[in-house]
Symmetry: C2
């Protein structure tokens, strides 16, 4: 690793550790300013900034005492908990690399991640109780294990030797270790689940993560008076960056281990939370919960992510839940938020209107030859900004492909309209070439979902002699209905061009899904690859 | 210069230009998001973000067409004007180094700065009309000169060939040049005027300046609805960082070429400005101006800098002018803000209470051996943070001294109290060692200023056999008064310890001052060095 003290500018050494940017500094600085302010509320537990910073320093000192060296990887298989926060910051303060796995993944995938990242230490929690095979896998992996003990969810004593988080930090110094960290040092590897392949390890440096959080802080104008939800998992980039954003503002976070609308409504009201970050389905559940009208909420801003919000739901939420809703889009590869919808246009723009670039990055549309396209022309959504990943761990080819022509390639197709707003069209690999035209699968899926008998719809392109790719629809019917192919095609004809209308409609009992809830389009494509006579 | 694309992390090249942090990106990103929003108001002129960004790109292309190469220096001798802004951003977008001189300095000092920095190009404005010797100096310097023409203030056509800013950018491309910029590349050299020596060139990289501005944005929760004053000179770090802060928020700045309380009050009211950044004397002038009560102001926050605010003035300002006043302290060496007072304590803490560290840096107190001191112990104020300078240009020894023990040394003596608030005591070199005790010159000066006949007071230590250094007071009496040494000493005895009471009182007609208004204490010290018998 190159450190900034080795970099020279006109014969003068750089500012080195004096001028570093490091994730751990965020917690320390807020702890110095507001030692006794509550940072995390989780059930009955309230942790101040000082408590979290002390525990993070203790855990950093523990890890270093185990012989881990800067740059070593520490795997985490944890859901949200107060103790998970000093674990994350402790790893960063020790100059180690955080490798969080999605704790809901199967044992095989987590095993793959831990081995691929070559972790030197593992932190787990009651996932060991929920998935007994996990302890077995970790025992085989043979790395030291620290366990965050969750009250009421004892970890079975089995073949796996481990030390509890409490025992690990017991008696350790609360003085932060002096470790040389450069802002371009690797800080985390976050694995994204693919629909077609093994998870890819997205590498980020300290600067990328801190810049993303500072950008959010500015966009959200977050301050000490704010309280923020912590319901999305911290092992994903969204909640992790929201955690840092919250800390920069000296605000507090209401941490939840999982989503429960009643518990969440109580928390929103009792803690006077002002900012919520969640999924559309969560907002729907809160809106429709009987407790909602009995509790007084103080939300000034709601951010949603991962999926568009149906227009009727959005209108109701704006009227009844919070006047300021924003879609924040991004991906693990561009530490979020990357693009955010304009709150003042929430009643004008719906669905896949993503909005405008956040202040930390540029967003543009690029054709396949690397030319940036003017407004109105669809192409691949590309970004530039310090929140861009360093690359995919051990995948130099995938890394090179992701930064072709000097921009980060998202794999998403979109268009920037005359108002400067980004409209997402489709994943690049899901775009169908039918009759010489580009057909976004999402556009056809939306039309299909408008059919009264359709519960779920997925559209892919299948090789076809005449069309090139034939638009092919896979449908799950609503319970108690039996829609026919004819009624579906007729429904589509009224709203779509001939090249867009499905050439084949297949009814399924259920969609093939990945562990993280993505449809396996590749499986559908390959299953029907020979259905039509190819060109 | 090392570029990030050359830095490697575990065999994967860094994100290079995709992930850079660069000052010019701030303007471009806001211009993309809000092209038609007004960024700068100056008299009758209103410039949108698009206009400024276009002009900055044109000027960058002009500079590069002159053969300037990345890393070359461009000197600026300019007061505030709308065109100065694309000049600054154009320099940065071209990968060049901005060298702003204080336009109020004498020709000799500016000549020194231009030669010391080895500028390859100079931008000036009607300073050429105000100081005829300036044109002569620039002619001798022999570098190409661009002149910002100020309406109503024609530049005399003399021996100096130059091109006007308008002519320079005429017909140039508005497309930003693709220049490789690394966030640790040198972005500016800002010369600080010393009281004892030639100005020192403080070097900052792109990252330092951007991080300082992002930190301010978060501290101030600045947004599109804000309007910010631009009355301090842009050639100083304070207003420059406020400009970037304003742009990050998509807000507007009301630019003034100099301070005029009536014009400023009209601007505050007419533009609905919400944030003012000024000097205590400006706030006093605005408060006392007859126009004030006739204009409706919308200020939500006032930041003051450079000098403490007298308590009675502060109380009146809080009651009558704006409910939120904050002292922002820093120095060119730590791009500001570095330390800021807490608004909620504005009625509890006065004078030299500087408050708490901003989120971008750590602040601590250090003894002469490099030990960090606990609360209550006075010592040198030191900082760490990415806003720390790269060093003093061509002064490796001064640079090394400024970063001894891994912290940036401010040369200020302070103490952190039990509330975590920083109290400034004195400049380190002005601290007097009397009878084995540390005596802050400022403390004695404040007592002296409390004497009814004292207009101005400066205190230094003079070598003395018994005291080590004898506290020595230099006073300017109020017009029409003739205070005696006895009455002064008697006044001090009532409030100070014996070792703190002046051992010599000297009455002066006026204080010896530098061009930027600092008292030449060194001159006073050396003039009286032999007054007492030394040890």
């Amino acid at each position: 690793m190159t450190t900034s003290s080795e970099r020279m500018i006109e014969g003068v050494p750089g500012p080195g550790q004096i001028g570093r940017v490091a994730i751990g500094d965020v917690l320390r600085r807020t702890a110095r300013r507001h030692p006794d302010r509550v940072a995390i509320v989780e059930g009955d537990r309230r942790a101040t900034y000082r408590m979290l910073d002390d525990d993070a320093n203790r855990f950093a000192n523990y890890l270093l005492a185990q012989g881990l060296k800067p740059g070593d990887k520490v795997g985490c298989i944890c859901a949200n908990s107060t103790d998970f926060i000093p674990v994350i910051f402790g790893i960063h303060k020790a100059g180690l690399v955080w490798v969080p796995a999605n704790a809901m993944l199967g044992v095989d995938d987590i095993d793959y991640i831990m081995r691929h990242a070559e972790v030197g230490h593992v932190v787990a929690d009651d996932v060991l109780a929920a998935q007994p095979a996990m302890a077995e896998m970790l025992a085989k992996l043979g790395r030291p294990v620290t366990v965050i003990e969750v009250p009421g969810s004892p970890v079975p004593k089995g073949s796996l030797p481990y030390i509890s988080f409490g025992a690990a930090i017991e008696g350790r110094s609360t003085v932060e270790p002096e470790v040389a960290i450069d802002e371009r040092d690797l800080a985390l590897i976050m694995y994204t689940s693919g629909t077609t392949s093994r998870p890819k390890g997205v590498m980020h440096c300290h600067l990328a993560v801190v810049m993303a959080a500072m950008s959010n802080s500015i966009e959200w104008q977050i301050g000490r008076e704010d309280g923020v939800t912590g319901v999305l998992p911290l092992f994903h980039c969204a909640q992790h960056t929201v955690l840092l954003t919250t800390m920069m503002g000296g605000a507090k976070m209401h941490l939840m281990r999982g989503f429960d609308p009643a518990v969440m409504l109580e928390g929103l009201a009792a803690e006077g939370l002002t900012i919520m970050v969640g999924l559309p389905l969560m907002y729907r559940a809160l809106l429709e919960h009987p407790l909602r009208k009995e509790r007084s909420l103080h939300l000034r801003m709601c951010v949603y992510a991962m999926a568009p919000m149906p227009e009727p739901l959005m209108r109701r939420l704006l009227d009844e839940f919070c006047p300021d809703f924003r879609l924040s889009s991004g991906q693990t590869e561009m530490y979020p938020g990357t693009v955010m919808s304009r709150p003042e246009r929430a009643r004008l723009r719906f669905g896949n209107y993503w909005g405008e670039s956040c202040i930390v990055n540029d967003t543009a549309i690029m054709d396949d030859d690397g030319n940036l396209l003017p407004p109105g022309k669809p192409g691949e959504i590309v970004h530039r900004g310090p929140n861009a990943m360093l690359g995919y761990y051990k995948q130099p080819e995938a890394t090179a492909a992701a930064r072709l022509h000097g921009w980060h390639h998202t794999g998403d197709i979109g268009v920037i309209d005359e108002h400067g707003e980004l409209l997402f069209l489709d994943r690049k690999k899901d775009m169908i070439k039918s009759g010489g035209e580009n057909v976004p699968s999402i556009k056809i899926e939306e039309v299909l979902l408008g059919h009264p008998d359709v519960q779920n719809a997925v559209v892919v392109g299948i090789p076809h002699a005449r069309w090139g790719e034939a638009v092919t629809a896979f449908l799950v019917a609503k319970p108690g209905t039996e829609p026919t192919e004819e009624s579906i095609v007729e429904h589509c004809r009224r709203q779509l061009g001939g090249f867009e209308v499905p050439k084949l409609v297949v009814f399924l009992e259920e969609m093939p899904m990945t562990a993280t809830g993505k449809v396996r389009k590749t499986e559908l494509r390959s299953r029907y690859a020979g259905h039509f006579e190819p060109a």
